[in-house]
Structures are given as C-alpha cells and as structure tokens.
C-alpha cells in the first residue's frame, strides 16, 4: 500500500554542488519504506511540469518518522527540488515499487553502485543486520565527485572505491574490482544500482561466477504505480523462450539479474 501525501521537509543538505539530501517528515512512508523502493515526487506546479519524478528512498528513521531522499540535479524537476528548503511542503507518493529481497541467511554481501545508483544502496546497507558482512563497491568519475563515502564506510564492512581517472582508489570501472575480487570473495548476493552499462556488466559477472544478483533499474515514468505502462524493461518469461515488457515502477525497480534482458 502507498499513498499521496503533502509532507513537510524538515532538513535539506547540500552534499555536493549538484547533490542534495532532503529529509521529509512522513509517518506513513518512513514506517513502510523498504530498501529499493522509491517515492514519486511532484517537483513543481502542473503548469511547470506534468510528471512526477521518481527518487529512491535513501534512509528511513522510524523513530523520528522521517525519511531521506538524495538526488542529483539533472534537469528541470530536480532543479526545482533543489530550491526547496526546510519548512516547505512537498507532494509525494510512496513508498512505491518492489524492494530488494533481503534475507538474513545471506551472510556475505556485495553492493555495487555508480552515479545516482548509490543512493538506494545506502538504505539497503542501513537495514542489513550486524551479522551480515557487506562489501561496497562504488564508482565515481573522479575524486572530487565522491559523495557519501563516510556514510558507506560506517555502514559496511569494507568500502572499495574506483575512479575513472584514478584520482582515488582503484583506477577504472568499479566492475573491474568486483571481477577481480569475486574468485576470492564468497558472496551470497550482489545488489547493484547505477548506469545501465554497469548493471549489465555486473549481471554478467554475477552470472559467470554463479552469484545471485539483484538489480535496481531506472526508466522514464508516468504514473509510477503500474497503470500507464510507459516504464518498461525487457524481462524473460518464465519457462518459455520468450520475453515481455515489465514495469519498472511496479514489477521493479528491483529485478533478479537473471530475469532481465539487457539490450
């Protein structure tokens, strides 16, 4: 179940010139949100923009009844959102979508993120139990674009950073570290979110090494709740040599990598 709410923004922080963390007071969403789910946010008037914007839930504080979203300014919608401040109200639908499948029986976990894909992973790590060992693999373009490294460090057993220009950590793509580590690590599960080429690569690696893998996808959305069928992604049809379009908003955003057909 989800709802449409006029909620109050209680905090707004700038994490990087173009990345903001917004804390929103919402008893319903904070207490129902699960990692991997998102909210559908009205960023302006109907006349300014007709569509809501999907943003992952990055944290939920059940006691304070707040949840956080972290977003990067990409265009008009996120630009408007960045102009909001504590005290403003915000029109939000959620929590929406299928969350990550989390099980305590998975003891050794890899989390692989790039770009805006790292934000939902923060929530995921936060909800893992202490008994689970987690290694985070995060990719950035260069050192000065790194965000949330401290938060990730605190929440996971080990943090590996890759930068494309080598200005920090491993030089190259995050998928290369993962690939190098996999033979020695004994992961039960990989969770990943980020740019499509990265997801495809991670899925491939997981398949090669026979590790279960959950992928969180992105797609342009209309309704956000499964009715308009615009947010499609190609998935396999069980037990048949066929495929279909699934809805990222309702059947996802989290899918088993083995179900997804990457083009």
């Amino acid at each position: 179940m989800s709802g449409v709410f006029k909620d109050k923004i209680v905090d707004m922080k700038m994490l990087r010139e173009d990345i903001f963390r917004m804390t929103i007071l919402s008893e319903y969403i904070s207490s129902n949100a699960m990692p991997g789910q998102f909210v559908h946010v009205k960023c302006g008037d109907d006349s300014e923009m007709l569509l809501r914007r999907p943003i992952s839930i990055a944290f939920a504080d059940r006691e304070r009844k707040t949840f956080d979203i972290i977003f990067q300014v990409k265009g008009k919608g996120t630009g408007h959102l960045a102009g909001k401040k504590a005290g403003d109200s915000i029109d939000i639908m959620g929590p929406l979508g299928k969350p990550f499948d989390i099980s305590e029986s998975n003891k050794n976990i890899a989390v692989v993120g790039g770009g805006i894909g790292i934000f939902p992973l923060l929530f995921l790590l936060n909800e893992m139990s202490k008994s689970q060992r987690t290694v985070s693999y995060l990719g950035f373009r260069s050192k000065d674009l790194i965000v949330l490294a401290d938060d990730f460090s605190r929440l996971c057993s080990r943090l590996e950073i890759a930068t494309e220009d080598g200005s920090e950590g491993y030089k190259g793509f995050v998928t290369s570290i993962l690939e190098n580590h996999l033979p020695s690590e004994n992961f039960d599960m990989i969770y990943t979110c980020g740019p499509a080429p990265m997801l495809k690569k991670v899925s491939k690696i997981a398949e090669n090494f026979g590790v279960l893998c959950q992928v969180s996808l992105e797609q342009r959305m209309g309704c956000g709740i499964g009715t308009c069928l615009v947010c499609s992604c190609k998935t396999k049809v069980k037990d048949k040599d066929d495929w279909k379009y699934s809805r990222v908003c309702k059947d996802g955003p989290v899918f088993w990598s083995s179900d997804i057909i990457f083009d």
Partner: protein, 305 residues
C-alpha cells in the same frame, strides 16, 4: 446539494456520473483502487485491448513537453481473452461502468474482439481507431471517413453492446468522420485521442521516445479538444464523450458546455491519482454554485458570441 443528479445515459450506457477514466491511463483499475474508491467514478475505459497479447513499443515511452506529455506505449496489453478471464472479475467488484477499449490491425480483428466481448460483462465497447503508436490498422482506419465507416459498420453488425467510436484529432475534418461513425450505427463518439508529436533530445540528436513519434496529451491539447468536441457535437445527434487535458472540474465544465455528455480524464491521473474524484467534486461544486441540479442544464449550453 441533496437533489443534485449527475446520472447520465449514453445511448444505453448508464453512468452514475459523467466522469470516466480514460483508456490507457488507468490500466484495469487495480492500481488506482489503492488511491480512490472506484465505486465513486462513472466508469473506467480500460487499457486498449487487442485480439492477441501485444508487447508494445520499446522504452523510453514517455516524454514531457510544455503542459503535455508524449507517449508511445503501443497498445501493450494481455489480449482480450486474458482481460475477460483475469481482469473482469476484479473490475466487476465495483459499481462502475466498464468500457472495453479495443483496437485491431484489421477489420476482422475488431469484429472478433467485439464478439468475444458480447459474452463478457462489459457495459460498452469503445472502438479505438485513433492510436498513433502502432504501425498497422488503428489510426489508418481513423484518419478517413471511409475507414471509420468500414470499421463501424462491420463492428456494429456483430456488437451487442453500446458502441462508442473513439476519434483521432489528426484529421482535417473531424465532423465528417464523426458523421461516418454515426451513419454506420455508432451509439456515441469519444474524442480526442492523442495528437501525433515529436520531441528531440538535442544532445543525442535523437527523438526522446525510442519509437520516435508519440501521442500528445494533457492540458496543452485542451483548446484543440474543446474545439473538436464543439464541432462534432454540432454535427452528429449521438452523444459525445469529451476528453483532452481535463485536470479540474472547471475543465470538465468547458467540455460539457461545448457539447460533451460525459468526460474522460487521462493524463491528469499520473500526477494526481485522485484526479477523477477531484474532477467530479469540481463539477458538483460548480453546479451547486450555479444552482444547477442536472447535467442537462449545462451540456451544450455554450452560446457563441
């Protein structure tokens, strides 16, 4: 107002009120049932149904434009049989009219779907000859009076339900086309479907939509839709169902004044899942403020200057 009566009959299709969810924007009602009481709205026009299941077009399927959106879903649907089996039992739990929106590649497709629906518990069928997002059939029929006449007369012969023909705005003379539908036995016409459009990503130098072109809907098209509803309702004697950009009760009132007996709410549902209810409340409020009790007091009551 205690004595306000928003009931309306569209040639045999009884609606408790004139607000219908527009096809393709409301799925089969399941998801919106979490947000609104489906018993409260006049009806639901379900996602366009085809004879066989259809996968639809590749994503992205949506682009935002000034006061509008472009979509290129391409009639993704489970097929009419699966609809009857899997969706109708859910829908029939609610006391609201169910309109089966149907599309075909060929005239015989349309007829076979209509036949199957004769035995299903739907309240009416809406023949979509206006979907701009599929390659064959559909819009090809809807773009000419001849095509619409052919589809309508063929479906009319087999269809036992009230028959609504949904018109495309992508034509020179929509009245002519509405008349062709009327002459061949349509019980009502609904309009407008989306206007064919294009949005370009200037950085990739490609269309935003993977399918390149898409259908424009939302408030941007309202003035065009209103003009066409006026033209059509003054050219035919069958009832007109109006849509195109309706977001508020006031928008709906404009359509009633222009001649629509009922309205459909589409794109507005996306930003506001309660849009249908708010449109309905807005209609009631306007009527109350104007001391009106029946829809007939406003339908077609536009006076030209």
């Amino acid at each position: 107002m205690a004595n306000m009566d928003l009931q309306v009959e569209i040639s045999g299709l009884k609606l408790k009120n004139p607000v219908i969810a527009a096809s393709g924007t409301f799925g089969f009602g399941r998801e919106y049932a979490e947000y609104i009481d489906l018993n409260k709205i006049g009806g639901i026009s379900v996602k366009g149904l085809t004879l066989e299941p259809r996968k639809g077009n590749p994503p992205p399927r949506i682009a935002e434009t000034p006061s509008g959106i472009l979509n290129s879903v391409g009639l993704q649907n489970p097929g009419v049989d699966a609809f009857i089996k899997d969706e109708m039992p859910f829908l029939r739990q609610y006391d609201t009219a169910i309109i089966a929106n149907v599309a075909g590649n060929t005239i015989s497709d349309y007829c076979r779907i209509a036949e199957k629906l004769n035995d299903a518990d739907v309240d009416a069928i809406e023949v979509n000859v206006s979907c701009p997002n599929v390659k064959e059939g559909c819009l090809a029929f809807g773009s000419s009076a001849k095509g619409v006449a052919e589809v309508t007369s063929s479906v009319r012969k087999v269809c036992k339900k009230p028959l609504i023909v949904k018109l495309t705005p992508n034509v020179s003379n929509i009245s002519e086309i509405a008349k062709a539908a009327e002459e061949q036995g349509a019980d009502a016409v609904s309009l407008i479907n989306t206007i064919l459009g294009l949005a370009i990503d200037i950085h990739t130098k490609r269309p935003v939509l993977k399918n390149n072109f898409g259908g424009l809907s939302g408030p941007a098209v309202k003035p065009v839709a209103l003009r066409m509803v006026y033209e059509v309702s003054h050219s035919v004697n069958i009832p007109v169902i109006g849509m195109g950009g309706i977001t508020t009760g006031e928008d709906a009132i404009e359509f009633f004044l222009a001649g629509a007996r009922a309205v459909m709410v589409g794109t507005a549902n996306f930003a506001n899942p309660k849009a249908c209810i708010e449109v309905l409340d807005g209609i009631a409020l306007y009527m109350k403020n104007c001391n009106l009790t029946r829809l007939d007091d406003i339908v077609g009551k536009l006076e030209l200057n």
